[in-house]
């Protein structure tokens, strides 16, 4: 007898139809609270999608006010990918073309390459008030914003010159997706990562050739280019993960979120083969420790009070627990958890003149929390959150990996696994 397979009959696989209009997403949207011009996640997402299917003329350019923080998706009890629906609608229907400003902000790697070549000049120039005024009026990049400093010695160059050789001495290996920020602005974070991984017994390697993850290209509507870079990166990840059996770790929550989730959801670039083995360094380390495969030894004299800020994409990934648990392992570290709230910068969003006010209003409650917390510094996994918090509060910000690198006793740790 033929076996009958039960197939659920007529249950929707259109994700937006799973919305039961509970409106919780609207409460969690950081933009809606400060900017009434934004229709909100429910209206822009599932409700708007029905309208747009009726007539694309119902597309509303106000959707570009979405930060793509995905906090609506975290809040949604029905599992509707609200943020993805909004971003996909922008990709599909928006008629506004990216401006010169958007291209400059979006092409983090091209701009980074040029800027770091002339780092001293660029850094001095973009810090000058008159230059910022001109950028404000001509490019509509808000004059309050300070560009992150560019490094004269890129991380990749430093790595090839000083670190690469030593990495082969280890038995276990990982690849490192450093991202634009580490490469062009802050190589120290990459160096810190290598320090910890080496201490843990892992050699750190670069991908054959990594390209910018493309998050800024996506948010600025440069989809073709983003798709091209996504395909390139997925191939590069495959060479490491599939061919060499080396997982890929990163120190940027946004880069890794983009590669894991935005590639398939927004760009239609498949990544099943690499997704599970692509993660954040802190999660990678946590899992080793949790499985009993690794122990970290810390310096005795480390004493700091720090507050951890959960970046939106960490909230979406659900991964801040890994970073905070690692930090809490450090003896002498007094840990303050900040309520998870958006800082308002959302990558290139806050750099745009028209968004400056919204951006700062969104971040305000967070800034107040930070000022009240009386900490030595703030820890967070996202580079743009760092810029925003440093600009908007009196505190400095460090990456959890850098904090670990400062607190770790390298030799003692190495002894633990060499025994």
């Amino acid at each position: 007898m033929k076996k009958e397979i039960f197939k659920p009959y007529n249950v929707s696989d259109n994700n937006f139809e799973q919305c039961v209009k509970c409106t919780i997403c609207t409460v969690y949207c950081p933009v809606l609270e400060v900017n009434p011009d934004y229709p909100g996640p429910k209206q822009s997402g599932p409700d708007g999608e029905r309208m747009r299917l009726k007539d694309p003329e119902f597309y509303d350019e106000a959707l570009k006010l979405c930060l793509n923080c995905k906090r609506c998706e975290v809040a949604c009890p029905s599992g509707v990918k609200i943020g993805d629906i909004i971003q996909s609608a922008r990709i599909k229907y928006s008629k506004s073309k990216p401006k010169l400003r958007d291209m400059i902000l979006a092409n983090t790697d091209i701009v980074g390459t040029m800027a770091s070549t002339f780092a001293p000049i660029v850094n001095t120039a973009v810090a000058l008030k008159p230059v910022r005024k001109v950028m404000d009026s001509v490019l509509k990049i808000d004059h309050h914003r300070m560009f992150p400093k560019y490094t004269g010695l890129r991380f990749e160059t430093w790595y090839r010159r000083y670190a690469e050789k030593k990495q082969k001495e280890f038995k276990k290996h990982v690849s490192y997706f450093h991202g634009c920020y580490v490469n062009y602005n802050f190589p120290q974070l990459g160096k810190d990562l290598i320090k910890i991984m080496n201490a843990a017994g892992y050699g750190v390697h670069l991908l054959e050739k990594e390209k910018c993850c493309g998050v800024a290209l996506i948010s600025n509507g440069l989809i073709k280019q983003a798709t091209k870079q996504a395909k390139h990166n997925v191939e590069a990840f495959k060479k490491s993960i599939v061919d060499k059996n080396m997982p890929v770790i990163s120190t940027s929550s946004t880069c890794i979120f983009t590669i894991r989730d935005e590639y398939p959801h927004l760009l239609g670039v498949k990544n099943e083969e690499i997704r599970d083995e692509s993660e954040l360094a802190t999660r990678f380390l946590f899992r080793l420790i949790d499985e009993g495969k690794l122990k970290l030894a810390f310096k005795k004299n480390y004493k700091k009070r720090i507050a951890y800020h959960t970046p939106c994409h960490m909230e979406k990934l659900g991964w801040s627990i890994y970073s905070t648990t690692l930090l809490r392992m450090i003896p002498g570290l007094e840990f303050v958890n900040l309520e998870s709230q958006c800082c308002g910068i959302a990558g290139t969003y806050g750099f745009k003149k028209e968004n400056y006010e919204t951006s700062q209003e969104v971040g305000k409650p967070l800034f107040e929390q930070i000022e009240k917390s009386k900490v030595d510094f703030v820890a967070t996994d996202c580079e743009t959150c760092k810029w925003q918090i440093e600009m908007s509060t009196s505190n400095k910000v460090q990456h959890p990996v850098s904090i670990l690198a400062e607190a770790i006793d390298v030799e003692a740790t190495m002894k633990l696994w060499q025994e």
Partner: protein, 541 residues
């Protein structure tokens, strides 16, 4: 006692469907004094319970040449006079592997002899034009089908009738036909609002009550042999198709998929029911099964699309007078002068037909009424646009003239619904722009406009005027807001609560036959809100 005793209308029209409203408009435009009476609200019968398909006539081309020719003529007229009620989205007649492709050429020939333009489309091209169509199709013919919103169409006719002096009474049910010897002189009505009986007098009484015309005729002591045929339909949560999809074969069950406003719907079934059941419309499990099974053949993605609700309507089919057995049933227009037929003066019945031919039915009925009243004036309803339909320069895209505003959706939706009358809706201040219905983009301004100008007596009427509660949440968020606005302007609080319960009960009736998946989640959530939070109780209904 009754102030209306002194006033005698030229004509009293019974029935607020498309035919009744259309006849009222036509009569009023020819200078008659008109009273239009309706027991519930506009478009509550068969008018509002069909596909909303702007037939090109192609569906009838092979089997019923006369209907097909009428359809295409009226189709072209409606495009001109009612463009705000219509979407000119064209239709495809698909031939699937199980259908006979030879039928296609017979179909195309029949269409052209009825005056319906056709274009045979290569299956690959057809799929590009309509990606939701069944990819296995082996043939496709393009015809000038479209969508029509029956609620808007009926309301526009009623509005224009009113502009030409027609008095309108909704919530007034005919309880008797008043006669003097062998002459009808008026109607006895029951006013559901005031709960009292009232008489109105007219020289002619026109029975345009659709299937309920059976009872009306009985009040007058004449018999019309009607055969109610029930048709069930399913509404899907959003638009799957852009073009109307038909099967290229002889008309059968569930073979038309029509996109209409934010949704699309599949139908219909056809089942003879006893006349006693016409006020008790339900959709059975078998109906739902047939509709899904056949619908999926037109567009496979229907299998995984959320169904919003199911509903059924009754076609008023009339047996020919010389055939009381009902074997020879006409789907065409039936106009009866009861003077000639039954020796009863002052009474005419217009029935049969279909939504597409409502205007022609009205024209034929009005011609007869005018002849009886010796009024000599030509019909102009085919050339003068309905209110809201006047061509305007404003396209949908610049209806939301301010980008960067939360009101963009409501403005565009209002323009879509009310055409050139949308300017009457207050907007621009944050209160008027606030949304009542979030699924369909109905603002407070639009609800107020409907309450003040469009004969709204309760929430269900309001839904037909504005689409409040017609979206995915089926009243979950908007019902209480709309009830609040309605209460402010007309109802006492106690009555408003009952009204709210009635409205939600009516929404549930349509959802219950298809209550699974997201629909059951939604209804559960709705009941938490209204029973749990607001304390609405079963005794309110």
């Amino acid at each position: 006692m009754n102030k209306n005793r002194s006033k005698e209308y030229d004509v009293i029209i019974i029935g607020g469907g498309a035919t009744g409203a259309g006849t009222a408009r036509d009569c009023a435009m020819r200078g008659l004094s008109v009273l239009l009476v309706e027991r519930h609200d506009f478009a509550t019968g068969a008018t509002g319970r069909n596909h909303g398909l702007l037939h090109s006539g192609a569906r009838y081309a092979v089997t019923d040449h006369e209907s097909a020719a009428e359809c295409i003529e009226e189709n072209m007229i409606l495009r001109k006079i009612a463009n705000h009620c219509i979407e000119e989205n064209d239709g495809l007649f698909l031939t699937l592997p199980e259908d006979d492709i030879a039928f296609q050429s017979q179909f195309v020939d029949a269409c052209s002899s009825a005056g319906i333009s056709t274009e045979i489309i290569d299956p690959k091209l057809a799929l590009q034009m309509e990606p939701s169509a069944n990819p296995d199709l082996i043939g496709a013919v393009r015809v000038p089908d479209g969508s029509v919103d029956p609620f808007r169409l009926t309301m526009s006719n009623a509005l224009d009738a009113r502009l030409h002096g027609t008095d309108i009474l909704t919530q007034h049910e005919v309880t008797d036909i008043l006669k003097e010897q062998d002459r009808v002189i008026g109607v006895e009505l029951f006013d559901h609002g005031k709960k009292e009986k009232v008489n109105y007098y007219g020289k002619i009484v026109c029975n345009a009550a659709g299937i309920w015309g059976h009872h009306i005729a009985n009040f007058a002591g004449v018999n019309i042999n009607m055969f109610p045929a029930k048709g069930s339909l399913l509404i899907f949560g959003h638009r799957v198709n852009k073009m109307v999809l038909n099967r290229c074969r002889k008309p059968a069950n569930a073979d038309i998929l029509v996109p209409g406003d934010t949704i699309c719907l599949i139908g219909t079934t056809s089942e003879r029911i006893p006349i006693e059941e016409i006020d008790n419309m339900y959709v059975s499990k078998d109906d739902v099964d047939v509709l899904i099974r056949e619908g999926v053949k037109l567009s496979p993605s229907l299998a995984t699309t959320r169904i919003l609700r199911a509903y059924a309507g009754v076609r008023p089919l009339v047996a020919a007078d010389d055939d009381p057995s009902g074997r020879s049933i006409s789907r065409g227009i039936v106009l009866m002068d009861h003077k000639e037929r039954d020796g009863l003066e002052g009474f005419v019945t217009i029935t049969g037909g279909k939504l597409m031919t409502y205007r022609l039915m009205a024209e034929e009925a009005t011609d007869l009424i005018c002849k009886k009243l010796s009024v000599d004036k030509k019909c102009e309803t085919a050339s003068i646009p309905l209110p809201g339909s006047e061509k305007s320069e404003e396209t949908l895209s610049n209806a939301g003239n301010k980008i960067y505003t939360g009101a963009s959706i409501t403005q565009k939706s209002a323009k879509d619904r009310h055409g050139s009358l949308a300017h009457k809706i207050a907007n621009g201040d944050s209160n008027e722009d606030s949304m009542v219905c979030e699924c369909e983009g109905v603002s407070i301004g639009e609800v107020k406009y409907a309450i003040n100008e469009l004969h709204v007596n309760n929430l269900i009427d309001l839904r037909r005027r504005t689409r409040v509660g017609m979206g995915t949440c089926q009243g979950e968020l908007c019902a209480c807001r709309a009830a609040g606005l309605l209460c402010e302007s007309m109802e006492e609080a106690g009555k408003a609560k009952d009204d709210l319960a009635n409205f939600l009960q009516e929404r549930w009736k349509g959802m219950s036959p298809i209550a699974w998946g997201e629909t059951i989640n939604e209804i559960q959530f709705t009941s938490w809100i209204y029973e749990g939070i607001y304390g609405l109780k079963p005794e309110n209904n």
